[in-house]
């Protein structure tokens, strides 16, 4: 391996990150579908030619993809490259979540990059498509018991063979989507992003030479490993455990345990999920690649300066029991993977907080709360309003948690109520912070939200919800209290009703004028409530964030004499 001087390395690190960022930006701009264009549910990067490990990844894509995309590349290496079956100009495509992680909506494209006839590295692009077939539009099917009810499954196949587009594959893809125009647009966007990445990388290699670039990529991996090792060495040695539960799998009412033991020995860290529930019938299973990527997300939230590079993971041993819901086998459904990884992040935070409370924030609201309201208009046109809803973040050593934030695995913003009201026959009766939802603490959690939505369409509507945290509240750390539970209710002809499975339900029939009401969890608190400044409590009371009785119960009487 060629040596690389530290200055060239610093320059090249920025140049290569910029290539990945520019691939992200290319897709965000040109994607037709708002899940990519607005919510940035996509990612791009550069991956090792031998191992498929992440070398560089764009900064603006979805956090969970940092870590999961290497598995897409590894899948192509296993199936094709191992057998010498890749050629310059090939592009592979697939969505199989059991091989590549996350869920079937995420379409992955992998392109080998050649230099002087030699395989140099891989580029990859992943993006969340609007619709990939299956039983329900948008592929979030809470009652799925097999992947086949969620979407069509595409294993890794060639989209381009030696530079030639395989139109047969494109035809199969588009025929299996309810929204072929959108799918075609996203596919083109991803192809464009890869093409741009190849051009930019080629130009960089021309400028610096293949040996130097190769040396830089290897040096960046070494550096990532050293950074992670240095962070772990700063932690006390020991073993800390945490557990939490999912409400249920959407099919049967049993709670599902997720357990972790976090162990630190010198410069190595182990995350052992032994004791977590076995794979379940409903769609809260996740595949092993998703579990590993999720560990990376949790670690990077604790140590935000870590780079998006596989070197980080070399210092970490991850043990996921076979047959558990964290390593479910094909064809177990995985469409609700977001709920499970949010809970994994929560238990990792809870365990880490015992070792290094100053570095860890309390649990955030912990559910994506996918709520769909759909129906037909009088003229027969179909409408589907599908969105994720926000909640409170956890308190930290420095401050209270953020009110109404987005999920730790995502950076997506919520559409404005006015955009939703203009597009769908609904009216938001309430779009508000949820009082009394924050976990108590020296720094309390952020507040959750209340969304109350009324159906305006005279034909009525059908609703479904895929949520969590209806039975087990977001936890505090370092002595902080729990946030409020997720609470969903809907109007029937006999008054307000609640789902039998609390946070998940399909087939809710609503007439014109009837409403659904989603009250989302707040974040957990940080530190003992007794250490909260009385002025801060008095201020929360004055602002209506907490009622007087609850304030006294959590924090005692001291706030009553304090200036808000």
């Amino acid at each position: 391996m060629a040596e690389i001087d530290p200055v060239t390395l610093a320059v090249l690190a920025g140049r290569m990150e910029q290539i990945a960022d520019e691939m992200d930006a290319t897709l965000f701009r040109s994607a037709f579908n708002p899940i990519i264009a607005e919510a940035h549910d996509a990612s791009h990067g550069i991956y090792d030619a031998e191992t498929g490990e992440t070398l560089v990844q764009g900064k603006s894509g979805l956090p969970i993809f940092v870590g999961v995309m290497a598995f897409a590349v590894k899948a192509v290496i296993e199936k094709f490259a191992r057998h010498g079956d890749v050629t310059e100009g090939d592009v592979f495509i697939f969505n199989d979540a059991h091989i590549g992680g996350t869920h079937l909506s995420d379409m992955r494209l992998v392109q080998p990059v050649f230099r002087d006839g030699q395989l140099f590295c891989y580029l990859a692009s992943v993006g969340h498509w609007h619709d990939v077939g299956g039983a329900v539009p948008g592929n979030y099917n809470p009652s799925a018991t097999e992947v086949f009810q969620e979407a069509f499954v595409l294993p890794p196949v060639r989209l381009y063979r030696a530079g030639e587009l395989q139109q047969d594959v494109v035809d199969i893809l588009l025929r299996n989507s309810r929204m072929p125009v959108s799918a075609q647009g996203d596919l083109n966007g991803q192809i464009n992003a890869l093409g741009l990445g190849v051009r930019r990388l080629d130009a960089l290699i021309d400028e610096y030479g293949a040996e130097t670039i190769d040396a830089a990529l290897k040096a960046l991996t070494e550096r990532a490993g050293r950074l992670m090792a240095a962070e772990i060495e700063g932690l006390p040695d020991g073993r800390w455990e945490a557990e939490d539960f999912l409400d249920n799998d959407g099919i049967s009412p049993e709670a599902l345990a997720i357990r972790v033991a976090l162990e630190v020995r010198a410069d190595r860290l182990t995350l052992d999920f032994t004791g977590s529930a076995p794979a379940c019938q409903g769609p809260v299973n996740i595949a092993l690649p998703t579990s590993i990527a999720c560990c990376y997300v949790a670690i990077k939230h604790i140590f935000p300066a870590l780079p998006a590079n596989a070197g980080v993971m070399r210092q970490i041993d991850i043990r996921v029991p076979e047959g558990s819901l964290l390593a479910a086998d094909f064809p177990a459904p995985t469409g609700g993977y977001t709920e499970t990884i949010l809970r994994m992040i929560d238990v990792i935070f809870s365990a880490a907080a015992q070792a290094i409370p100053e570095r860890v924030v309390a649990n955030a609201y912990g559910t994506i709360n996918a709520l769909s309201i759909a129906g037909r208009r009088s003229d027969g046109r179909r409408w589907v309003m599908f969105s994720f809803y926000g909640g409170g973040h956890g308190g930290s050593l420095e401050s209270d948690g953020l009110n109404h934030g987005n999920a730790p695995i995502s950076t997506a913003t919520i559409p404005p109520a006015e955009i939703l009201e203009a597009a769908y026959p609904v009216i938001f009766r309430q779009w508000a912070l949820r009082p009394d939802s924050a976990g108590a603490g020296m720094h309390r959690g952020g507040l959750g939200a209340i969304y109350e939505i009324e159906v305006m369409e005279e034909m009525g509507a059908q609703a479904f919800l895929f949520g969590e945290r209806g039975r087990f509240a977001p936890k505090g750390v370092a002595g902080g209290g729990e946030g409020a539970l997720n609470h969903f209710s809907y109007q029937t002809d006999d008054g307000w009703a609640e789902p039998p499975l609390v946070s998940k339900m399909v087939g809710i029939a609503l007439r014109q004028g009837q409403r659904v009401r989603l009250e989302t969890p707040g974040g957990g608190g940080y530190g003992p409530p007794g250490r909260r400044a009385p002025e801060a409590v008095a201020r929360d009371v004055a602002l209506g964030f907490i009622n007087e009785d609850a304030a006294t119960e959590s924090y005692g009487d001291a706030w009553k004499g304090a200036r808000a």
Binding site: A10, A13, R15, Q18, S30, R223, P304, N403, T413, A432
Partner: protein
């Protein structure tokens, strides 16, 4: 000469550290510049002191134009007024909930404090639907009760923002009338008056920030105007907006939120004008400040406008503003080696206080400026501004050794070069971002450094990005003040339409454009300024149905005798296809066009300044400009480098690198292999030797 140009014009740009003044006396064919320290918290002291430096008799001054950071600072420091918000039942918290974002992708730390706390946000019964239907009339008694409560709470201003008021402002307007009747107060901001555009958070935030700034900014501008008038000033007082145009002081008092990025915008306007006069209409500007590097791209003489910006997390201002890309790599940015052994620059900065190690004010971590000092690029005996006697070269070298040299195994000079190389690479990245990544080839563009620090890095950036040349303006440190003097007057209007392209009502759209044009022309008339020309520029925000990203679609409209001839549906459709194709390279077959917003800009073109006034006078000579030599480290070795007094170089002078050109507000480094040439406006054009 037009009446507005009679007498003299003064541009004043108040920045974080310095207040810059540019005086143009066209009759006498002279300009004057001055730089005084910015006064805080009240900027009016520095403003008036600066003016006093260039004009004793304000009676001879025709126009004063002001670019200000007063609004930005009030937002960043949360020093606006105590205000209240009246909103639709159920939406009290929309302002605090934002768009469900967070501060940073990684880390999940930090909270958010809105400018209006929850106990000063009142809900009233009322409801308008997205199609403009009023579902529930506004409860005026509830509005009055809310207004009384806000008065009792000591509020100085109030914002009123109702859901869907962009579609029908009726309820909101009635509420505003009721508040104004009950509470005689100039500071009542109604959202549909300020931004009749869909998206309740962005509209509410912009309206609330307007109210938050209003008492402060109106008071500040009143004080300035009073002092100017007291000094005998009888001309026009104009304020620069974030869109790069100026507005009257009355408009600024009503819409202070439009000043949020006033200062930097004026700089970009000036840069574009200087470059165009010099014969280059494609230019990338780069302002190296203490903590950041700000880049803007001007293609074909036009700068890009962004629709909105966040002044800070959650402080969203939606009003057209010149698009400026900022990265955290300025002169004060700190160089450090991470635990993985990688050299980083910023984002942490020593700013201007304590500033670089060389300032000797207590910072001991090396900055980009320290690297420039150690390498001899900055004269330690003549520091720019700041009032320092001498820079501490040894201290800077020791800090570089300790924090960069030792961990990387480099000697002092190699470590200092490494810092500059990585800093230049980061700046180059920002230039690539606004050029290559947007489809512009850098080889077509000139680079214009302005601000104090940019000209030291110009040659490195030319090499790194492949830019054609650099243009260093005659007075780079007062570019923004110069921009004040030349900016056009501009009013922007927006109205959400949200209709399918085929359903666009031509007559109603024409009436809206007419109303915008009438109001804009009225403001131009009332300003007392005279113009060379007046333009009405119309743009629609459009997309295909199902898409959320809109593209700006310019549509030419004819205005004759004040009457607007509206564009036809077919013209709008055609313009969309052209705009969409140029953005995405292809159309969507079978897609349905949708018109989200109408945007109208009414522009009064002000007569342009003849930049030849800035050129060096007869006394300039290359001989007189030479000031000996200094050792400067460039690349891997010391070069005995010629020193020049930049302002004394005559038109046509050529200087081969290596050379250092010094002037009071900046230092220019011409590296070996480059040549600088003084053009007829006094700009220094730097190109590769032999180019």
């Amino acid at each position: 000469m037009s009446p507005a140009r009679s007498g003299r014009m003064i541009g004043v740009d108040v920045g974080g550290t310095f207040t810059d003044v540019f005086l143009l006396d066209e009759a006498a064919g002279a300009v004057q510049v001055a730089k005084v320290p910015t006064t805080r918290p009240d900027q009016s002291g520095g403003f008036l002191a600066g003016i006093a430096r260039v004009a004793e008799d304000l009676g001879t001054v025709g126009t004063v134009v002001h670019g200000t950071t007063a609004g930005t600072n009030a937002l960043l420091e949360r020093k606006g007024a105590r205000i209240g918000l009246i909103t639709t039942q159920g939406f009290r918290d929309a302002l605090e909930m934002r768009r469900r974002d967070r501060r940073a992708t990684w880390g999940l730390r930090g909270d958010y404090v809105p400018v209006v706390p929850r106990d000063r946000r009142f809900e009233v019964p009322e409801r308008t639907l997205a199609d403009g239907t009023i579902l529930e009339e506004v409860d005026i008694a509830a509005v009055e009760a809310a207004a009384r409560a806000l008065i009792d709470m000591g509020c100085a201003a109030v914002a009123i923002a109702f859901v869907n008021s962009y579609a029908n402002p009726g309820n909101e307007r009635r509420a505003a009338e009721a508040v104004r009747a009950l509470w005689p107060n100039a500071h009542v901001s109604a959202s549909a008056e300020i931004l009749p555009e869909i998206r309740e958070f962005e509209r509410t935030s912009t309206t609330a920030l307007n109210a938050y700034l209003q008492p402060e900014i109106a008071g500040y501008l009143d004080r300035l105007e009073g002092a100017l008038r007291g000094g005998g000033f009888a001309g026009e007082f104009l304020i620069v907006q974030s869109n790069g145009g100026v507005m009257s002081v009355e408009t600024a008092c009503r819409l202070p939120v439009r000043t949020a990025l006033s200062g930097p915008a004026a700089g970009v306007i000036a840069a574009g004008y200087i470059a165009e006069c010099a014969g280059f209409s494609d230019v990338i500007t780069g302002d190296v400040g203490g903590t950041s590097f700000d880049v803007a791209l001007i293609a074909g003489g036009a700068s890009r406008l962004a629709a909105q910006t966040s002044i800070d997390f959650g402080l969203v201002v939606r009003t057209p503003m010149i698009e400026i890309t900022t990265i955290g790599a300025g002169g004060g940015s700190i160089a450090w080696v991470d635990k993985g052994g990688l050299l980083n620059i910023g984002p942490e900065s020593a700013g201007s206080d304590p500033g670089p190690v060389a300032y000797g004010r207590g910072n001991d971590r090396p900055t980009v400026t320290d690297a420039n000092v150690v390498l001899g690029r900055i004269d330690p005996d003549r520091p720019i501004g700041g009032g320092l006697e001498r820079l501490d070269v040894a201290g800077a070298a020791a800090a570089i050794d300790a924090h960069v040299g030792k961990p990387l195994g480099l000697d002092t000079l190699a470590a200092a070069e490494a810092i500059l190389k990585v800093a230049n690479a980061r700046m180059a990245g920002a230039i690539r971002l606004v050029s290559i990544e947007r489809g512009h080839s850098p080889a077509r563009f000139a680079f214009m450094p302005f601000g104090g620090g940019g000209a030291l890095h110009a040659c490195a950036l030319l090499s790194e990005v492949g830019l054609a040349r650099a243009i260093v303006p005659r007075y780079p440190g007062v570019t923004s003040a110069l921009g004040c003097v030349i900016a056009d007057m501009r009013q922007d209007f927006v109205q959400t339409l949200n209709v399918l392209g085929d359903a666009l009502d031509e007559a109603a759209t024409g009436a809206l454009i007419q109303a915008h044009a009438d109001e804009g022309m009225g403001l131009l008339n009332a300003s007392g300024v005279s113009f060379e020309a007046r333009d009405v520029v119309v743009e629609f925000d459009m997309a295909y149905v199902g898409q959320t990203h809109t593209v700006p679609v310019p549509v030419p409209v004819v205005v004759e005798g004040g009457r607007v001839t509206p564009p036809s549906r077919a013209e709008v459709a055609e313009a969309f296809d052209a705009a969409y194709r140029s953005t995405y390279g292809r159309l969507l077959p079978g897609g349905t066009r949708r018109v989200l917003n109408l945007r109208t800009a009414v522009i009064g073109r002000r007569p342009k300044l003849d930049l030849a006034l800035l050129a060096p006078g007869a006394g300039a000579s290359a001989e007189a400009a030479r000031q000996g030599t200094r050792r400067v480290h460039i690349g891997e070795e010391w070069h005995e480098t010629a020193l020049y007094d930049r302002l004394t170089l005559p038109v046509g002078a050529e200087v081969a690198g290596p050379a250092i050109l010094a002037q009071p507000d900046t230092t220019i480094l011409i590296e070996p292999g480059f040549t600088g040439r003084v053009d007829r406006f006094g700009n220094l054009i730097i190109e590769r030797a032999g180019a």
